[in-house]
Symmetry: C2
Subunit: 368 residues, 2 copies
């Protein structure tokens, strides 16, 4: 490191550590200072880890020769700041809340993982800790894409835990997601003489009709219910106020259960729109992740958490799908309500930090 990094104290109270991490601004593309601080903290406080730096990603792992290896990962970056830094504390309706960009997505999870990476010197399973950059941007820029390509051995594990916000519950797997552009073509004409044209906006009518009437599948996998969603998330068309438009298009977003491949998902959307005179093009897709809750390391994790912990399906796509693609069952587990991610009022209940920390410590045998 050629420049001074703000110091992090991984042995501080978990709330203090979380605030230290939040207050190092790290909007996607600007993660270096935080990566430096995380790396410095690990090098200073976790001699039991093999540590490697890759761009603005910090990789660390125990090499104890255990039978199983669990990977815990959290991204360092956030979406743009919205006047919500530095962090602050408040009490609302009797609940103490930590407020600030990244508190929920997902520096609370990063703080818990960083503290446990330092504390868990002799775990029963080998542990891999990944603090990575560029998650809140295009998938191709996500540093896990690079790590998987260049250092795949760092992602090898029997089970993975991603610190995405789950309100300190467990959210298993995730749905896949696909974007499709549906385009209708017509024939331009003056809007006072529409009979010589064909209105492309009107031609989208049956597309919207089928979407509005669509009944989405609910898939139950390992006891978790994944509710599919098929929606138009954008629509556009029109040339001028006096012209019948010759082109109109809708952007569809299909969120499909993790038992469905992107190929099957595309075929399904084409079936939903079958017979309509529109062009359909897939512009983006990512497979989901099966929860894998019946695997041995997942069962051990859930047992350690205890009865009181909520277990649900993860509806939104997360990087757990990257681990699933490598054959590693993965769950999301972190402080904060995922619905507050990216909002201007991003915050977490302070109690979620301790709840996550205690649960993971119990699983790692650090807690009575």
């Amino acid at each position: 490191m050629n420049h001074a990094a703000p110091a992090l104290d991984p042995r501080a109270d978990i709330l203090d550590l979380t605030r230290q991490i939040i207050d190092i601004e790290s909007v996607s593309g600007n993660e270096r200072a935080l990566a430096d601080a995380v790396e410095a903290a690990l090098r200073a406080h976790a001699p039991h880890l093999r540590i490697e730096r890759d761009g603005d990603t910090v990789l660390a792992r125990t090499e104890l020769g255990r039978d199983q290896r669990v990977l815990l990962a959290g991204h360092l970056d956030t979406v743009p700041v919205a006047g919500n830094l530095p962090s602050s504390l408040r009490t609302r309706d009797g609940v103490e809340e930590l407020v600030g960009r990244g508190s929920c997505d997902m520096k609370g999870g990063v703080a818990v993982f960083l503290q446990l990476a330092v504390e868990a010197a002799e775990p029963d399973v080998d542990l891999t800790w990944i603090f990575y950059d560029h998650e809140e941007v295009a998938a191709a820029d996500n540093s896990l894409t690079r790590i998987a390509r260049e250092k795949p051995q760092w992602l090898e594990a029997d089970f993975a835990i991603l610190g995405e916000p789950t309100s300190a519950g467990v959210e298993g797997g995730c749905k896949g997601t696909m974007k499709l552009e549906v385009t209708a073509h017509g024939k331009a004409a003056h809007s006072a003489r529409d009979w010589v044209g064909e209105n492309a906006i009107h031609a989208l009518s049956p597309v919207l009709e089928r979407l509005a009437a669509y009944e989405a599948r609910r898939a139950v996998i390992d006891g978790l219910e994944y509710r599919e969603c098929l929606n138009a998330v954008a629509i556009s068309g029109g040339i001028a106020g006096n012209v019948i438009p010759d082109r109109a298009s809708a952007t569809l977003n299909y969120r499909f259960a993790p038992d469905t491949s992107p190929e099957q998902a595309e075929a399904h959307v084409r079936e939903v729109l079958a017979g309509l005179p529109v062009d359909i093009e897939v512009t983006d897709s990512a497979a989901g992740a099966l929860p894998g809750l019946d695997t041995a390391p997942a069962r051990a994790f859930l047992e350690a958490l205890g009865e009181g912990v909520r277990i649900d399906a993860k509806q939104g796509w997360t990087d757990v799908a990257r681990f699933a693609a490598l054959g590693t069952p993965a769950v999301n587990f972190g402080p904060g309500d995922p619905l507050l991610a990216h909002t201007d009022d991003e915050h977490i209940p302070v109690a979620d930090l301790a709840a996550c920390r205690t649960a993971l410590r119990r699983w790692l045998g650090l807690e009575a």
Copy 2:
């Protein structure tokens, strides 16, 4: 006039005069040089006219005490130039064409009117000639709006002829036009959890469905068929690729027959969309114009033109509606195909110029 205007020779061959007028560029807002030239030509060559200048509009009239007065009007401005100036001549498929911005809309008509204003020194009816500015822009900026307000006596007439392109046929009256914004509201949500939101784009589905199924009325008035049109000319909605949008809107354009008032037109659109949970707002409207072909001066005009002249309804809105609003029946009559107006390849058949000129001369008793 404080500056030199390019000279126009209103006694030149009609093709030459048209080219002179086209070659004085006069995109809306830049009409002064052309208005100066028209005014100078009238002052030099038409001592029988009372001439007045108002902004960049040139007003002229005979004051012969005739029983009837006919108003002939043409706008001086054009839409922006598209590399199609100066004018040029070409022959395609054996047809000689005059090419250039404004040739069709509507400097051909202006040239014919300017020439006749000079030639018709002793017409059987009194004549008012208006060469006006700012037609191709917002109605409020159209100089006829100002003339009607400040000098309404200049618009008084028993019949009006507007030199808009009609391929040298007569197009009577015009349909009205109305724009409406139709907005659907929903509830935003993450697109992986659509059940907690309401998709506003999907809520536009029944709107498009009714528009697509709409059977437009055909109104026959004075033997002319006005075909109504109701269309979505624009549609928009969408917040982000992963968000269920809480707002979507369509812009509708309703072109209604001239026997229908704007109030009736609005009521009709509201009836078409009755029962749908959308907001409907009229953002712009203009009444149409009845053709008035059964009035005495109109009959005299049509008789003079002779049997060979095509007589149709005008489908697009034109300034004839302004005269209709003053109680003056009005028709469109000018060289060029209206479908070529505003196009990059704007042009007219050269023969249309002579056809319009000869027909009007016959009506004015200048032709055998």
